[in-house]
């Protein structure tokens, strides 16, 4: 079965640079979630989109923005990167017609040097 696809899998950036993370949800899933997992931490919710509209917002810095496109893929844009942004970024998708189950992608490991 098709899973959530994230790209790139690994990304190394310098401080103050910009990064763009991409997420391709499971086909026919209409909702995308972004989570950030720091070293030794649990995943923290950043933002979600349903049918291309922002549906919820968590502890996402103002330096970050995201959107969902007409083909349901989503992008997380991160600017003015800081050392503390180094983390594993997960995208998850679900269907509101389904069982409220969120399926996670493999994550993008971002390292800021």
């Amino acid at each position: 079965a098709a899973g959530v696809i994230q790209s790139p899998r690994h990304l190394i950036k310098e401080k103050r640079e910009t990064a763009t993370l991409k997420c391709y949800p499971i086909p026919r899933h209409d909702t995308v979630y972004w989570y950030q997992q720091g070293p030794g931490q649990d995943p923290q919710f950043l933002i979600s989109f349903y049918e291309k509209m922002q549906s919820d917002k968590g502890s996402i810095p103002d330096r970050f923005s995201a959107q969902q496109f007409s083909d349901y893929h989503s992008e997380l844009n991160m600017s003015s990167l800081e050392l503390g942004d180094s983390a594993l970024y997960f995208c998850a998708s679900s269907s509101r017609q389904g069982l409220h189950e969120q399926y996670f992608g493999p994550g993008t490991r971002l390292t800021v040097t």
Binding site: T31, Y33, Y35, Q37, Q41, D42, P43, Q44, F45, S48, S55, D56, G58, L88, F90, A92, S94, L99, H100, E101, Q102, Y103, F104, P106, G107, R109
Partner: protein, 113 residues
Amino acid sequence: AQTVTQSQPEMSVQEAETVTLSCTYDTSESDYYLFWYKQPPSRQMILVIRQEAYKQQNATENRFSVNFQKAAKSFSLKISDSQLGDAAMYFCACQGGSEKLVFGKGTKLTVNP
């Protein structure tokens, strides 16, 4: 808002034995869902089991089962016939009206041969 507490940072079990991971939660929602996710060393987040709060019957998925005590706000995971491949970090999560997942801090499970 939801909070999730996992009081066991680490647990260990002998191969083929049974182990129970604890989780308590708090939510103001009347309709919510509870999940257990497994995160092996690959860092992939894998959905293990789901429980709808309105269902009294405990969920079961092969060797994995839950003990859902709604009044006590308790949601423990039992792993039977433990296998080496079960070694991972296990996260308990709660999903309320906003649909975002709120995770506990996790329990690291070691399986001894």
